[in-house]
């Protein structure tokens, strides 16, 4: 699988509603790209739905959930065909407390509709969701130039030793993830139609997005990240309808 960027979240573009909501945990919290602001259901009974209604039909072929307590739940992305709700893709959330869960449509191109929803079943406590992404992924035409690191991990820690040389303790502060990749010889038309909209409508404003290098091989390597603060977007045009290269410097938090 080639690298994928998930930025065009339909949840921001439509009206959201939920089966029920606990006070102080609006359903719109799922659309603000912040895993720490959450929708939370009012109770733990029944099937919970978060529904999205768009002004015009748009395409969705995947969903991602980050920041949740849905361990063991079954989550289904559905669309409305005008008559009934139809399942698009289903996943059972693993019980290993992974922060991010995702799934993609079994059909190659997803569905273009005005109404989507996720259904959450087999809940054991009032469900919470920090980020809900429903939309279409942007897949790069091929992997980045090799060699490339999956990601760099930088851990901040502080240790103290005693007057006698004993280790007194260590404080773990945080882990930062960095991902650098370069894509050479991209088709100019493809770049103009896909990368420029991604950059101009989303990335250059500092909005986060999900990024994954290869989910077939590295199934857990999907990160919420953003372009680094001093990023320079400078695709260099080449002859014969190509771009010489485009580089991405991303940083994000560990899961």
């Amino acid at each position: 699988m080639n690298p994928r960027i998930f930025y065009n979240n339909l949840c921001i573009q439509g009206t959201l509603s939920a089966t029920d909501t606990a006070s102080g945990h609006s359903v719109y919290n799922v659309a603000d790209w912040r895993p720490y602001t959450r929708w939370k259901a009012a109770n733990a009974s029944g099937t919970k739905y978060i529904s999205l209604t768009l002004g015009s039909a748009k395409k969705a072929n995947c969903f991602i959930i980050m920041g949740h307590n849905l361990s063991g739940c079954e989550i289904t992305l559905q669309y409305h065909n005008g008559t009934a709700w139809v399942n698009l893709t289903t996943i059972t959330s693993p019980t290993n407390n992974d922060d991010i869960i995702y799934n993609f449509s079994s059909s190659s191109n997803g569905e273009t509709r005005t109404q989507f929803r996720i259904a959450i079943e087999y809940i054991s406590e009032a469900p919470e969701i920090g980020i809900l992404f429903i939309g279409e992924y942007l897949e790069m035409p091929y992997p980045p130039d090799a060699p490339y690191p999956r990601y760099e991990s930088k851990v901040q820690m502080k240790s103290e030793i005693s007057q006698s040389g004993n280790l007194l303790g260590r404080v773990y502060k945080y882990e930062m993830i960095k991902m650098n990749s370069t894509f050479s010889n991209l088709d100019r038309t493809w770049v103009n139609n896909n990368i420029y909209p991604y950059y101009n409508n989303h990335a250059k404003y500092g909005y986060p997005f999900f990024f994954a290098f290869d989910l077939n091989v590295f199934t857990k390597d999907i990160f919420l990240c953003n372009l680094v603060d001093d990023y320079t977007f400078a695709p260099s045009i080449k002859y014969l309808g190509y771009y010489e290269s485009i580089s991405f410097q991303l940083e994000g938090r560990s899961k």
């Binding site: 920090g130 502080k158 030793i161 007057q163 004993n166 899961k255």
Partner: protein, 674 residues
């Protein structure tokens, strides 16, 4: 894992949880009782469109350390940094703690903050104008004095197991680039906010006359007054018609001997204006066993008080109505009676004669004054009007009665003059007085440690009192003056309780701190603390001039000094260093002299051999050592005269400063030869 498990683990991720408790109106915009219309408010006072119906409730905003992934819902990861200026427990006061919390700002969606988000026409959660802290400051301008609580926890710990590490009052919020900096100070700073004389909105509702001092009745004719003024004559009238003689009474049991009496007449204003003295010989052989007093009518008489040198120090109060009283044996035998020395006969200037001479008429009515609102005044106390100190003995509705005017400094006061309240306390248990002062500073019982009540219940020492203070001061000065007079220390603990400990009450150590397992490498500093060593201690007490400054030595009746002659000698320190204290709370109460002697003796012992201060750091695992705790120290950084390092040396923590993954402590060594 529990909090303590995380604390003692080799590697863990600490988290700050900061809670800000701000005002919030509980009503819904436009729904009764709120009658506001138009653009909706934000349920804060400064955005309220219907302030007359605004009700003050609270809302807690929660923030955690910015580095962590969110461990639980309802918190925002905005806490970038927490810096402490720690409290310091000093010899005669406590420097309150302060801190600054740096918060990251963010283009927050305003969801769950704006109670009417969906009604404001927002179409995109990413496009709400402004940032979190800019909006916060604009909506909560009255943040000063609101509470902020800092808790400590670890990643993986449930929210309800986070430990409170301080509770403070917000003093200021500044904004710098994309950070908001919150400045806060501990609860004891609230004492500094109350200044005496206390300004009020209370006003007198009528003119008050001047009280002149005539001395003798003959001087009245020369007094320069206006109609309505009073003049005081301090010569007692003779208690006409009063007689006393030995008597045979069925209840009498006086033995043979001479009994001296001072009998006073009191008027409705509780003033003594007439008296007569008696010496009565009682002879048991004549069947005499008591003394009988008889009296006729005396104008203005409301009460008779009999003082005797063989009776109680207080008087015997007698109702004049029966016309007689029989004095028998009183079980309570004390010393010299404390009877009134000066009469209080007032004359009122009622008119001027045709020749311009003032006409004064004897007046016994009680002085009283109506004020605009007496509800916030104590039931009795002292007030300041213009520059005159006036004592009031009671109040009835808005009328202050039983006024005692300061005749030496009396002035006329015009209607609508504001009054100031003076701080005053009559004899009481000192620990209860301290709690009362904390309550005045709006520190409620949730933030007051049980140590105050425990000491109050155990206290067998003298009562403390303070005369009305008319010099400018604040409640913190008065508070710590009492703490000092008790030879105690007061501080705010990490659990946000105000605690007290008497200096001679040394508990068991909570922990041993050693080079091997607690003290961080290269973190030790020693201060021999010579600047706080003294050769003598002086205490001024029994203050009589309440308008003089607290440190004006001549405004005190008593001074006592303890001297360490060895320290002052040529072979000692060869110098005189005097530590001077001024006590507002030690006056003429029973037992004060012995108390002062003991106080100065203990102080001299300590100050002549000032304890060493040792500063050291520990790792986070030892953060359970709190301010004020007693510990033992084992270190080679300081030795005895033989070169041996300290082993299990007793010390008290007088300063505690958390700093990221370490805590810096300053401890005061307790000298065993004190």
């Amino acid at each position: 894992m529990s909090y303590n498990n995380y604390l003692s683990a080799v590697t863990r991720q600490p988290i700050y949880l900061v809670e800000m408790i701000m005002d919030k109106c509980p009503y819904t915009f436009g729904e009764a009782p709120c009658t506001a219309v138009g653009t909706k408010c934000y349920n804060t006072f400064y955005t309220c469109k219907n302030k007359v119906n605004y009700s003050r409730s609270t809302k807690t905003y929660k923030f955690i350390s910015s580095e962590v992934n969110i461990p639980f819902v309802g918190v925002l990861p905005y806490v970038k940094r927490v810096n402490y200026i720690p409290a310091e427990i000093k010899e005669d006061k406590t420097i309150p703690a302060r801190c600054t919390i740096t918060m990251i700002d963010d283009t927050h969606s305003d969801l769950d903050v704006d109670p009417y988000w969906t009604d404001r026409g927002h179409t995109n959660v990413l496009s709400v104008p402004g940032t979190y802290w800019r909006r916060f400051i604009a909506r909560n301008k009255n943040f000063k004095g609101r509470r902020i609580i800092i808790k400590q926890g670890f990643n993986g710990l449930p929210e309800n197991e986070f430990q409170k590490r301080t509770e403070m009052r917000i003093e200021n919020i500044t904004y710098n680039g994309n950070e908001a900096i919150i400045e806060a100070a501990d609860l004891l700073t609230a004492l500094q906010d109350i200044s005496y004389p206390l300004k009020t909105n209370i006003k007198i509702m009528s003119d008050m006359p001047k009280i002149l001092f005539a001395g003798e009745e003959d001087n009245l004719i020369n007094m320069d007054g206006k109609i309505g003024d009073y003049a005081r004559v301090n010569i007692f009238q003779d208690f006409i018609g009063l007689s006393a003689a030995a008597y045979n009474s069925p209840g009498g049991d006086l033995v043979t001997g001479t009994y001296d009496f001072w009998v006073f007449a009191y008027d409705i204003a509780n003033r003594a204006y007439a008296k007569r003295n008696f010496s009565v010989y009682v002879n048991n052989e004549n069947s005499e066993n008591s003394v009988r007093f008889d009296w006729g009518g005396l104008g203005y008489l409301i009460e008779i008080r009999i003082f005797t040198n063989v009776g109680a120090t207080s008087y015997i109060s007698v109702d004049p109505a029966p016309g007689y009283y029989i004095f028998t044996f009183d079980n309570v035998w004390h010393n010299i009676p404390n009877y009134p020395y000066n009469a209080e006969i007032y004359y009122k200037l009622t008119s001027f004669s045709s020749t311009g001479q003032s006409v004064w008429t004897e007046a016994h009515e009680a002085f009283e004054s109506e004020v605009s609102d007496a509800s916030t005044l104590d039931s009795s106390g002292y007030i300041l009007i213009d520059k005159e100190i006036i004592q009031f003995g009671g109040k009835s509705g808005n009328v202050l009665n039983g006024l005692i005017r300061d005749t030496a400094n009396s002035e006329r006061h015009t209607i609508n003059t504001p009054i100031f309240i003076l701080y005053y306390y009559s004899n009481a248990n000192p620990f209860n007085i301290l709690v009362d002062m904390l309550h005045k500073a709006k520190i409620d019982d949730d933030n007051i440690d049980d140590s105050f009540e425990e000491y109050a219940n155990e206290w067998e020492g003298i009562d403390f009192n303070i005369s009305a203070i008319a010099t400018e001061t604040n409640l913190a000065v008065i508070f710590f003056n009492l703490v000092n007079s008790l030879d105690a220390k007061v501080w705010q603990s990490e659990e946000s309780k105000i605690k007290i400990r008497l200096n001679n009450d040394i508990p068991a150590a909570v922990k041993n701190v050693s080079d091997a397992t607690e003290i961080v490498d290269n973190s030790v500093k020693i201060d021999c603390n010579d600047k706080n060593r003294y050769t003598r201690v002086t205490l001024y007490y029994n203050k009589y001039d309440m308008k003089a400054s607290i440190t004006e030595a001549n405004s005190y009746r008593n001074v006592t000094r303890a001297i360490n002659a060895d320290a002052e000698s040529e072979k000692g320190y060869n110098e005189v260093k005097d530590k001077i204290y001024y006590s507002l709370w030690l006056n003429s109460q029973y037992g004060v002299a012995d108390y002062v002697d003991t106080l100065l003796y203990n102080r001299m012992r300590k100050l002549s051999n000032m304890p060493i201060k040792i500063e050291f750091e520990t790792e986070l695992k030892d953060e359970d050592i709190m301010l004020g705790d007693f510990i033992t120290i084992t270190t080679n950084e300081i030795t005895d005269e033989n070169g041996n390092g300290y082993v299990n040396k007793n010390a008290q923590i007088i300063m505690r400063e958390p700093n990221d993954n370490k805590i810096k402590f300053t401890a005061e060594i307790i000298n065993n030869d004190e």
